[in-house]
Amino acid sequence: MSQVVLTLRASPAIVVDCSPLTPDRLAGKSAATIAAIELQSGNRRLPAGDLFDITGESGDTLVIRNACNKLDRIGAGMNGGTLEVEGDVGAFLGAGLVSGTIRVSGGAGAFAATGMVAGTLHVRGNVGDFLGAAIAGDKQGMLGGLVVVDGDAGDRVGDHLRRGIILVGGNAGDYCASRMLAGTIAVRGRVGALPGYAMKRGTLLLAGAAELPTTFNDCGTHELMFLRLFARHLAGVDAAAASFAPHGERVRRFVGDRANGGLGEILITV
């Protein structure tokens, strides 16, 4: 399988918008053509060739090596193919991802998977705040697809989440699932303060006890069969975060946020 490999030479001074560099957008382009693509960095535009060594042959896989947290918008709007990143990345990883798979060996900044429509995003390290959340003004965050984070996630995971699945293998920060509209978030580690704040609908699945807002009501402990469907759906996902099923279908169900009449659920495995 042919692939293009972009190796970052040195960390840029100001964040660089890497959204033009996706496998679908680079399809059929020569190394010279790719090198000439201009990338926005602050108020300047830099040719990709100034930042990256470009090798390989255009195919449906793009590899970015030696990446760092100054590379923003990696895989943003990508539609098809596989994007492998070795290293850390900056903000807006996989924003608006339409289809395809993005894998990052390191961590990612804020607003990863915002506006993501479908596809798979897998981050081995930690991610910043607002994973799968909406940017200011948007009423809906992530719209679909699967996000897996092996490490920790920051605050406001899935704020305004509209659809899709977010799995966090480590801990999640404060206000996890805030203002969530639908979809499913599962956190294997701990969550910070006030999970589910202003939640409307959707499911937040937690492996352990959490300090819930007082505006969630306890609906008791139940065996919920849909969790089996969930586990089976995740059967092929290669991540600890995906193995929620062994915790079983027996959960304590809290419903809220009643403050805004929400019927979201926080399920805590027992």
């Binding site: 926005q40 602050g42 108020n43 903000a91 200011a136 406001r156 704040y197 505006t215 403050a259």
Partner: protein, 317 residues
């Protein structure tokens, strides 16, 4: 000038300001202005701890006077303070609760107002019965007001508290009239936001690096830009208040400021400027974002205004 050089525009207070702005952008709100509060409000809930010290004339001008064009005798006005040991008059009704629990308190009030049963018996240390009484009072108010200063809700994601306040206000308007009153306007923060909005279509934290306006409420905050070293120059403007010094940073800093500024670390460039409303005319938006006040020139100054200084810089570019 930002348009010309591709800079990002932010305000020193915009972390606080954005607590309101993010709510406006997400759900909107029902709000009112000073004269309505003074003349109409029969119930006022003041949220936060520092309202009276931040806005010393707030109570004196708006809360204390009980004459109203709409009542034939003195008005009845209930005033309740809510927050972490709020600085309130000695005889005031005070509900003490930590700032980080305010969102839950408003959440519980929303449940009570809408008759949605809650299991909790205490919220943020407040008995549900007290909150129930408060909710009842709010429902019975003819024109209720909740006032808050975003600067007081100083914690990460403070906008979620503001959103709860606004949600409660909106619920109450199903049956009676109620309004929020956001307090702010210091250091021309509201003014800067208004002008940025109307000229570009987007609020503060808008950048021009791409040749088009680009708004990023999160990454374009000054602190974050400096911490991530994603800016190579900081231009700090503070013509009103000599105490508002630029943040300590090793990013080269240019200051357009009051000549009274005293720096611990000298900026790369310091251009003393005149004070609006003292040395030259200008405009200033009051807290509610409706009333713009004309600032008049009262005295001469040899110093340039900020606008003159910026124009000169731009022409020299």
């Amino acid at each position: 000038m930002a348009n010309r050089i591709g800079a990002i525009v932010d305000h020193m207070n915009s972390t606080a300001l954005s607590r309101n702005l993010l709510v406006l952008q997400d759900s909107g709100w029902i709000v009112t202005t000073f004269a309505e509060v003074r003349s109409r409000a029969d119930f006022v809930l003041i949220v936060g701890t520092e309202t009276n010290s931040r806005f010393p004339r707030f109570a004196e001008r708006l809360i204390d006077p009980l004459d109203s064009p709409f009542s034939d005798g003195p008005m009845q006005r209930s005033v309740v303070y809510l927050g972490a040991r709020p600085k309130a008059p000695a005889d005031a009704r005070v509900l003490d609760c930590p700032t980080n629990k305010l969102g839950e308190v408003f959440g519980a009030l929303r449940c009570l107002v809408a008759n949605r049963p809650l299991q909790a018996v205490r919220v943020a240390g407040l008995d549900m019965e007290i909150l129930n009484g408060l909710a009842d009072e709010m429902r019975k108010a003819k024109y209720g007001v909740v006032a808050w200063a975003a600067a007081d809700l100083d914690q990460p994601h403070g906008e979620l508290i503001v959103q709860s306040i606004c949600g409660l206000v909106s619920d109450l308007n199903e049956t009676t009239r109620f309004a929020g009153l956001p307090l702010g306007g210091n250091d021309a923060d509201v003014t800067a936001n208004q002008v940025t909005l109307w000229q570009t279509g987007l609020p503060l934290r808008t950048g021009f690096g791409r040749g088009v306006p680009e708004y990023d409420a999160y990454h374009f905050g000054t602190d974050r830009l400096l911490a991530g070293r994603n800016a190579d120059v900081l231009l700090w403007i503070s013509a009103f208040d000599p105490l508002r010094l630029p943040p300590e940073t090793d990013v080269p800093t240019i200051v357009l400021g009051s000549p009274a500024m005293r720096f611990t670390k000298a900026p790369a460039v310091f251009i003393p400027v005149a004070t609006p409303g003292l040395h030259h005319a200008g405009h200033f938006f009051r807290s509610d974002g409706v009333m713009a006040i004309r600032l008049r020139k009262l005295a001469d100054s040899p110093l340039p205004s900020v606008a003159e200084a910026l124009t000169a810089i731009e022409q020299a570019l």
